[in-house]
């Protein structure tokens, strides 16, 4: 695996255009795994506003980008979640992790995760989880390879569709 020169930093508002383009690519791919992940058509503004909030709200989100000069190579957006019944009481859940194809296999994913572990340590969070579509076997292999294990399953249905 070739190393990619570049660095990881917190995402900024000025990143939002490249950031959103990557988010849309990832969500579009999710839509191919399951119709429940069909992406919204039309006005992108609410989605953009949501991610701007994630970028700025450091109390509830960790949002990092791996950059090379002014190009964003990859991003990770994770939510800080309360675990009211469990110990430890907080976990970080990775919701979005995406690397642009031209920067894949260059260790960018590991760079992002190392940086996110660093942020977790600063916040005293010890548990990290990741969610992705069940059929995304590449994501599954990626996480298993770096020591993650399956700890929960999420099932879904559209109640307006027949379910014999």
């Amino acid at each position: 695996m070739k190393e990619s020169s570049g660095s990881v930093r917190k995402a900024r508002e000025g990143d939002i255009d490249q950031f959103m383009s990557m988010i849309f690519r990832m969500k579009k791919l999710n839509g191919e795994f399951d119709p429940l992940f069909r992406t919204r058509e039309g006005d992108d503004a609410p989605i953009r506003d949501y991610y701007l909030k994630c970028i700025n709200d450091h109390e509830h989100f960790i949002t990092l980008v791996a950059v090379k000069k002014d190009r964003i190579m990859g991003l990770v957006k994770a939510e800080i979640r309360e675990r009211i019944s469990y110990e430890p009481s907080r976990e970080l859940r990775i919701i979005d992790l995406y690397i642009m194809p031209e920067f894949r296999r260059k260790n960018v994913g590991n760079m992002l995760l190392s940086a996110i572990y660093g942020e977790m340590k600063k916040l005293g969070i010890k548990i990290i989880t990741a969610e992705f579509p069940s059929l995304n076997l590449i994501a599954l292999n990626f996480y298993e390879k770096i020591g993650y294990r399956q700890i929960t399953s999420v099932y879904g249905k559209n109640i307006e569709e027949d379910s014999d």
């Binding site: 990832m26 579009k28 191919e32 642009m100 194809p101 031209e102 894949r104 296999r105 590449i138």
Partner: protein, 447 residues
């Protein structure tokens, strides 16, 4: 006018093919290869003696290559999902094509090839059936399987089998493309590492060709792939989807196109040295003026059949130095039949356990070298260059030894002698069968 004559000629061949097939009822058959003079001969060819032969093989299954015809038997397997240009016609309808292939295997390579169209439900079923057939054969030739299924099937079989698996639409075509390009580059004074290539069409042939070109010394960054959506660039919207639906194409998207060119086929061709097109069978798919935008002494392989993507003369008139097509009625026919008979003869003679791109590069170099002094209108041998097949066979067999894949090592000279003898004896048998009327003369057909 050209296309009309071509159409008439095609219609005539179609009619003759059906008439002759009805008359001959199959293009191949099996015959004994041992003397049978009286019933007592059955005592060793069959019971009781044959049981001891079985026991020998039971004790050492590798002996099946020495005590039966396995060493020279190849299964031609297909599911009939992409037969020639006629598409998914099913296994029964694929049989005439597989029989034709078996005939070429036999005539050109002295190989006993058995057509095996399979009625299978999916790609894993296909793989399990072929794996189950392994004890009967020394190699498998996969044929006319739709893309991208063909990549998965070939990869899995190459991993699971202890005999070679070859998909001719990928590997055979890639091999003869490389052979043609080697001579084209000799003529135009190019070196692979400095040469730029546009591969137009990203199906079985060109995906394999890309890998083979890279193995032979082309720089991945100097290769641009084009498919029906345009240039395969790293930012294309469908790239993530390709990662799952066609990981082989996805791999190449990550490796190739160092400039990250985007857009149409025209953008891919501009300023390149070579086009290898295996795309839409329609002249004009590659426009005449695009050839003028290529580098000096451009090399154009327009391989779609039956009609090339650009007529050869149009490409030459617009600046191409060398043009090749898939057709036999123009110079430089890029034809798999120059590859697979010799490759299989060699793999069988070495009792090879497999095949890889390094062996294929050597086969392509041998085919290119066979031409001697290549000319713009002779970059590949002709199918009637009978000596080609043993030469390729011995190169492939020796390469199998070098790769540690040969069960039966020998020198190149030894392999060459073996291949010549087998191919020559087989051809003599066919000729004698025709002379003696066991293979009947072509019937009169009303034109």
């Amino acid at each position: 006018m050209v296309s009309m004559n071509d159409g008439e000629r095609t219609a005539r061949f179609n009619r003759l093919a059906v008439e002759y097939s009805r008359y001959y009822k199959g293009k191949i058959r099996t015959l004994p290869s041992v003397p049978i003079n009286s019933l007592k001969d059955f005592s060793y060819w069959y019971t009781p003696g044959v049981a001891e032969v079985s026991m020998e093989i039971k004790r050492n299954p590798e002996e099946s290559f020495n005590l039966t015809g396995r060493w020279n038997s190849v299964g031609i397997v297909t599911d009939g999902t992409r037969v020639l240009g006629i598409g998914n016609v099913g296994p029964e309808a694929a049989m005439p094509v597989m029989e034709g292939k078996a005939m070429l295997f036999n005539l050109l390579g002295g190989v006993n090839a058995i057509p095996l169209p399979l009625r299978v439900s999916d790609r894993d079923h296909f793989i399990s059936v072929v794996k189950a057939l392994e004890p009967s054969f020394g190699g498998f030739n996969l044929e006319d399987i739709e893309s991208p299924k063909c990549f998965y099937v070939l990869k899995e079989l190459q991993e699971k089998l202890t005999i070679p698996a070859w998909h001719d639409d990928q590997l055979g075509t890639a091999c003869i493309i490389l052979a043609g390009l080697i001579n084209s580059m000799r003529i135009t004074g190019r070196k692979p590492q400095d040469t730029t290539v546009a591969l137009v069409g990203s199906g079985a042939a060109n995906i394999a060709a890309a890998h083979l070109l890279i193995e032979s010394g082309f720089e991945p960054r100097n290769i641009i792939m084009v498919d029906s959506k345009g240039i395969l660039d790293k930012e294309r919207d469908d790239l993530d989807s390709l990662m799952f639906s066609n990981p082989w194409k996805y791999e190449l998207a990550l490796m190739t196109n160092g400039e990250n060119r985007k857009g149409t086929m025209e953008n891919a061709i501009k300023g390149t040295d070579i086009i290898v097109s295996a795309a839409k069978a329609e002249p004009g798919t590659i426009k005449n003026e695009w050839i003028g935008e290529m580098n000096k002494d451009a090399i154009v392989f327009a391989l779609a059949n039956p009609l090339p993507e650009i007529w050869p003369q149009d490409a030459l008139d617009n600046g191409a130095k060398i043009v090749a097509t898939g057709r036999g009625d123009f110079p430089n026919q890029i034809n798999n039949s120059l590859v697979f008979p010799g490759v299989f003869r060699g793999m069988l003679d070495a009792r090879s356990r497999g095949v890889n791109f390094r062996i294929m590069v050597k086969a392509a170099q041998e085919i290119a070298n066979f031409v001697g002094a290549p000319q713009p209108d002779r970059i590949v041998p002709s199918m009637e260059d009978w000596e080609l097949y043993p030469q390729v066979a011995s190169t492939v067999a020796r390469a199998s030894v070098d790769e540690g894949l040969a069960r039966k090592p020998d020198s190149r000279e030894g392999y060459l002698k073996t291949a010549r003898e087998i191919i020559s004896a087989n051809r003599t048998m066919i000729e004698k069968s025709m002379d003696l009327g066991f293979i009947r003369k072509l019937p009169e057909v009303r034109e």
